[in-house]
C-alpha cells in the first residue's frame, strides 16, 4: 500500500511539474510584427540556393529582396530601370548600352560598378558555366565597360528576351572573383545591391533580412523581413492564426478559414502558370486540327476551376492569356458541345448514341497521362478524361511516375503539362512549340508539334525589339495556334497568400508559377 501510494504520488508530482514547466515556456501567441516594424512570412519551400544565377524564372523571396539586376519588372511585368538608369539599343538591335546609376553600393559597403556587371555576365555565359541561367545569355558575344558607369553588351543576333533575362541579379566581383559563380558559401550568405540585406540564414528554419540604408531607391519602409520555412500546411495555418507569423502562403482549402479572421486578409494573385493537355503529334489520331479544336470545345473549364482549384484559378484559352502581349479575343475556346460535334463531323467522324466518335471504323480512343506525384494534375486529368468521354472521346486517365514520363515522352498519347511566364513570352513558348525544339532533337517540345506559321511568328517574336513588332509577332502566333491547337487548354492557377489586414504594399501583379515574384516591391511594404 505504501509503495502504491508513493508511486502514484510521484507520478502526480511529475505530471504537475511537467505542466508547470510547460506553462512557464513561452507560449505560441505573439504580438504582430507591427510593434517592431517587422514582417514575418511563412513559406512552404526552402530555396535550394539564394544565388540568382541558379534561379531561372523562379526567384525566391530572399533572392528577390537581396539582389537587383540591370533592369527589373514592374507591377505590369514591363521592364523598367534598376541598376541601369537608362539604356539604348542600336538600330541593328545588336548593341545595348546601359548607363548605370551613380552611387550604388553593395551590402558590405563596396561600390558597385560596371566591372561587376561584366564579371557576372561573363561568368554566367561562359561555356562551362554551371549557372542554370546560362542559356538566357547565349546571344551575347561581348560585354564591354568603357567606364565605371557604362556597360555595352554586344550580340551575335537580335535577342528580344535579353532585357527580361537581365532582370537577373548582378553578383559582386570583389567577393566572387576567382571563385565559382555558383559558390555554395556565397549562395547561402549572398551580398547584393537590393533593398534588404540578409543578416542571418538558418537552413530549414528562416532567413532574416534588414533594411539596407544605402539602397539606391531609398531606405525600405520595413525595418526587417523574416521568411520562415514551414513545410507542413497545417503548421503554417496554425502559425498564421496564432500570430507567430504575419503572412503566409496558403493552400486553396485554407483560404476560407483565414477569411474568418478579422485581422487577416486573403490576397489572390493571378499567375501565368497554366495547365493543358499536350497532344503527341506523332500519333495519327491527332493529325487533324479540327479534332484538337473539337476537344478544346468539349471541356467545361469553369467546372475544373471550381472542383479542382476550389475557385482559385481561371479558364485557359491559350498560353498567353495573362501575358502583356496576349490578346484574349483570338482563341475563344469555351465549353460548347454543339461546336465539338460539328467539328468532329466536319473531320469525318460519326457517333452512334453514347458511343465514341469513329472514322473508318477507328474509334477516337486514347489515354492521357501526367505526373502521378502531382495531385493537382491528377485531379485535373480525371475530370478532363470524364468530360472528354462524355463528349465522345474514349479517353483513359493514366497517370505515370515522373521517372517513367521523362524517359518515355514519345510513347504517351497525351499529357497534362504546365508552362507559362508573365514576362517576355519567348522563354515559355519557343521551347514547347517551335519545331526546332521537338523531342527528336532533344528539345522540350515534347509533343513534337510543328507548324510553320508558329515557327515564323516565334522567330519574329524572338528578334522583335519594338513593342509594335513584338505584339504583331505574338498576335500571329496566337492566331496560328488557335487554328492548329497544340494543346487542349485547361486552367491558369492562382497563388493565395494571407496578409495582415493592416498591412499595405503587395500588389495584384501576375506572378510566376507557385506565386514567385510576390516580393518584387517589398521595399514599399509597410504596416498601415
Amino acid at each position: 500500500m505504501r509503495i502504491r501510494s508513493r508511486v502514484v504520488t510521484g507520478v502526480v508530482a511529475l505530471v504537475v511539474t511537467a505542466t508547470g514547466l510547460t506553462a512557464c515556456g513561452q507560449g505560441g501567441a505573439s504580438s504582430s510584427g507591427r510593434a517592431d516594424n517587422t514582417f514575418t512570412y511563412a513559406l512552404d519551400e526552402e530555396p535550394i540556393t539564394l544565388n540568382p544565377v541558379n534561379q531561372d524564372e523562379h526567384t525566391d523571396p530572399v533572392t528577390e529582396m537581396v539582389f537587383r539586376g540591370l533592369v527589373a519588372h514592374d507591377g505590369e511585368n514591363d521592364v523598367v530601370a534598376a541598376l541601369a538608369e537608362s539604356w539604348e539599343v542600336s538600330s541593328d538591335d545588336l548593341t545595348y548600352t546601359f548607363a548605370l546609376r551613380d552611387g550604388v553600393t553593395w551590402h558590405d559597403g563596396a561600390p558597385f560598378s560596371s566591372a561587376d556587371v561584366k564579371f557576372t555576365l561573363d561568368a554566367v555565359r561562359a561555356p562551362d558555366s554551371p549557372a542554370s541561367t546560362r542559356q538566357n545569355f547565349e546571344a551575347i558575344t561581348a560585354v564591354e565597360t568603357p567606364d565605371a558607369n557604362t556597360v555595352v553588351v554586344q550580340l551575335a543576333e537580335p535577342d528580344a528576351p535579353l532585357l527580361d533575362a537581365l532582370t537577373m541579379g548582378i553578383l559582386p566581383r570583389h567577393l566572387l572573383a576567382g571563385k565559382d559563380i555558383t559558390d555554395p558559401e556565397f549562395s547561402q550568405a549572398p551580398v547584393g545591391t537590393g533593398p534588404f540585406r540578409l543578416v542571418d540564414f538558418q537552413p530549414a528554419q528562416y532567413a532574416e533580412l534588414t533594411a539596407f540604408d544605402e539602397y539606391y531607391g531609398g531606405r525600405p519602409k520595413l525595418d526587417k523581413v523574416i521568411i520562415t520555412y514551414v513545410p507542413d500546411a497545417t503548421a503554417r495555418l496554425v502559425q498564421l492564426t496564432n500570430g507567430e507569423v504575419d503572412g503566409s502562403f496558403l493552400e486553396p482549402q485554407q483560404a476560407a478559414r483565414v477569411e474568418q479572421e478579422d485581422r487577416l486578409r486573403v490576397r489572390v494573385s493571378p499567375t501565368a502558370d497554366y495547365r493543358a493537355v499536350m497532344f503527341n503529334m506523332t500519333k495519327p489520331l491527332f493529325a487533324d486540327s479540327r479534332v484538337r479544336q473539337a476537344m478544346n470545345y468539349a471541356v467545361d473549364r469553369d467546372a475544373l476551376v471550381e472542383a479542382v482549384l476550389l475557385g482559385y484559378g481561371r479558364p485557359a484559352t491559350g498560353p498567353l492569356d495573362l501575358s502583356p502581349v496576349g490578346d484574349p479575343d483570338i482563341a475563344s475556346y469555351r465549353f460548347d458541345p454543339a461546336t465539338t460535334a460539328e467539328l468532329m463531323r466536319q473531320a469525318g467522324y460519326t457517333r452512334t448514341d453514347g458511343g465514341p466518335w469513329s472514322r473508318d471504323g477507328q474509334p477516337m480512343q486514347f489515354s492521357i497521362s501526367t505526373f502521378a506525384e502531382d495531385p493537382l494534375r491528377v485531379a485535373l486529368l480525371n475530370i478532363v478524361a470524364t468530360q472528354l468521354t462524355e463528349a465522345g472521346f474514349d479517353v483513359t486517365a493514366a497517370p505515370k511516375p515522373r521517372d517513367y514520363v521523362v524517359d518515355n515522352w514519345g510513347a504517351l498519347d497525351a499529357f497534362v503539362i504546365g508552362w507559362g511566364t508573365p514576362y517576355h513570352p519567348d522563354t515559355s513558348l519557343y521551347g514547347p512549340f517551335h519545331s526546332s525544339q521537338v523531342l527528336a532533337k532533344d528539345g522540350s517540345n515534347f509533343g513534337s508539334y510543328a507548324n510553320s506559321a508558329v515557327d515564323a511568328a516565334l522567330d519574329a517574336g524572338r528578334t522583335a525589339t519594338e513593342e509594335a513588332r513584338t505584339a504583331a509577332a505574338y498576335q500571329r502566333f496566337q492566331e496560328a495556334i488557335a487554328a492548329d491547337p497544340p494543346y487542349l487548354w485547361l486552367v491558369y492557377l492562382q497563388a493565395i497568400n494571407a496578409f495582415p489586414a493592416d498591412f499595405e504594399g503587395p500588389t495584384d501583379r501576375t506572378l510566376e508559377h507557385h506565386g514567385y515574384g510576390l516580393f518584387y516591391n517589398a521595399e514599399t511594404w509597410h504596416w498601415a
Binding site: 505504501r2 509503495i3 502504491r4 508511486v7 502514484v8 507520478v11 511529475l14 514547466l21 510547460t22 506553462a23 515556456g25 513561452q26 505560441g28 505573439s30 517587422t38 514575418t40 526552402e46 535550394i48 540556393t49 541558379n54 534561379q55 531561372d56 524564372e57 523562379h58 554551371p130 542554370s132 555558383t182 559558390d183 555554395p184 549562395s187 547561402q188 542571418d200 538558418q202 537552413p203 530549414a204 528554419q205 528562416y206 532574416e208 523574416i226 520562415t228 514551414v230 513545410p231 507542413d232 497545417t234 503548421a235 496554425v238 502559425q239 496564432n242 521517372d403 517513367y404 521523362v406 503539362i417 504546365g418 532533344d442 528539345g443 522540350s444 515534347f446 510566376e512 508559377h513 507557385h514
Partner: protein, 337 residues
C-alpha cells in the same frame, strides 16, 4: 576481455557494417529510377521538365557518366578522409549539411527517449502495482488507443491542442527568428515535437512491457524470498523488482531506435524542426544522392550505437546477463541490504 575491449570489438564490426551499407546504398540509388542531373535542373527551374540535351550537359558536369564502381571508389576515397562530397542540389559540403541538422535530430530523439522512458516507467509502475482494477483497465485502454494512433496523428493533435487551441507553446522551429537561441527558448520549442515523438504509437507497447515485467517479476521466487526475509515493500521494488522488470523494455528500446528515427522524420516536418529528417526527405525528393547516402549512414550508425547501448543496459539490469569485463558478484546473498 574488459568492457572497453568488448566495445572496441563492436566498433570494428560496426565499421564493417557501415561499409557494407554504403556499398548497398550506392548500388540501390544507382538502380533506382530517376536521374539526379535532371532533378538538379528541375529544382532550379521550379519543376519545369528539362530537355534531353540539358540533362546530358548536367550529367557530364556532375560526373554521373562514370561507371558505378569508379564513382563509389571516388566517394569512398573522400569518405575515408572525412569528405562526404557536396550536395548536388545546394553545392554545400555534405559534412556541413550534417553538422547543421544532426545535432537537432539527436537532441529531439534523446529528449523524446527520456520523456518516453520516464513516462513509460511511471505509467507502467502504476499499472503494474495498482490494485484498483479500473485504473489498470483505464491505462490499458488508453495505451491501446495510443498504440493504434499513427505518429503524425499524435503530432497534429498536439499541434492543435498545444499551439493552436491553448496557445501554450510555439508550433514549430527551434527558436524565434531573429532572436537568440537560448536554452529556455529551445526547451519551449522542444516540448511539442519531443512529446509527439515520445508518446507516439510505441509508447503503449513500452508501458505494456513494463507492466507485464513488473507483474511477472513480483511473482518470482526471489521476490517471495525477499518478502519472507521481511524486507520493506519499497526496498523490494527498488532492489529486486525494478531491474529485472525493465529488461524486456530496455531490449525493445535499443531495437526500436530505427523506428524512433523514422518517426522523427515525420515529426520534424510537422514541427518545422531543422533536423536530419527534413534534410533526408528533401534529399530523397531531389535525388540528392551524396546527402542521401550520408543520411543513411548516419542513421545506421545511430541504430548500431543504440543497440550496443541497449545491450549494455540489459547486462546491468539483468543479473543473468554478463558481458565480458562485468565484475559484479553473482546472485544476491542473504543479508545484503
Amino acid at each position: 576481455m574488459t568492457t572497453a575491449q568488448f566495445v572496441a570489438r563492436r566498433a570494428v564490426t560496426a565499421a564493417l557494417v557501415l561499409l557494407a551499407i554504403s556499398v548497398l546504398c550506392f548500388t540501390l540509388l544507382d538502380l533506382a529510377p530517376g536521374d539526379p542531373a535532371r532533378a538538379v535542373l528541375e529544382a532550379r527551374s521550379g519543376g519545369l521538365p528539362a530537355s534531353v540535351a540539358e540533362v546530358a550537359d548536367q550529367r557530364a558536369l556532375m560526373g554521373l557518366d562514370d561507371p558505378l564502381a569508379q564513382r563509389y571508389l571516388r566517394w569512398a576515397g573522400g569518405a575515408a578522409t572525412g569528405d562526404l562530397g557536396a550536395s548536388s542540389i545546394t553545392g554545400r559540403p555534405v559534412t556541413a549539411e550534417l553538422a547543421d541538422t544532426v545535432p537537432w535530430t539527436v537532441l529531439l530523439t534523446v529528449v523524446a527517449t527520456v520523456f518516453s522512458v520516464l513516462g513509460a516507467v511511471a505509467v507502467g509502475l502504476v499499472a503494474g502495482l495498482t490494485k484498483r482494477r479500473w485504473l489498470r483497465r483505464g491505462i490499458e485502454l488508453a495505451m491501446f488507443v495510443l498504440g493504434g494512433m499513427p505518429g503524425f496523428v499524435t503530432a497534429l493533435l498536439l499541434l492543435y491542442l498545444g499551439a493552436a487551441r491553448w496557445q501554450l507553446l510555439p508550433s514549430g522551429g527551434v527558436g524565434r527568428p531573429g532572436e537568440d537561441v537560448t536554452v529556455a527558448v529551445v526547451a519551449a520549442h522542444l516540448v511539442l515535437p519531443a512529446a509527439a515523438l515520445a508518446f507516439g504509437h510505441h509508447f503503449g507497447s513500452y508501458v505494456r512491457l513494463i507492466q507485464t515485467g513488473i507483474t511477472g517479476v513480483r511473482a518470482a521466487p526471489h521476490v517471495d524470498n525477499a518478502r519472507a526475509r521481511g524486507l520493506g515493500a519499497w526496498t523490494i521494488l527498488r532492489r529486486h523488482v525494478l531491474g529485472p522488470a525493465l529488461v524486456p523494455f530496455a531490449t525493445r528500446l535499443g531495437v526500436g531506435t530505427g523506428a524512433l528515427l523514422a518517426g522523427a522524420y515525420a515529426i520534424e516536418v510537422i514541427f518545422s524542426w531543422p533536423g536530419m529528417g527534413r534534410l533526408a526527405i528533401a534529399a530523397a525528393k531531389a535525388q540528392d544522392y551524396p546527402v542521401l547516402t550520408a543520411v543513411v549512414l548516419v542513421t545506421a550508425a545511430f541504430v548500431i550505437a543504440a543497440n550496443l547501448l541497449g545491450e549494455l543496459a540489459v547486462s546491468r539490469l539483468d543479473p543473468r546477463v554478463r558481458l565480458p569485463g562485468d565484475t559484479r558478484r553473482g546472485p544476491v546473498v542473504v543479508g545484503d541490504h
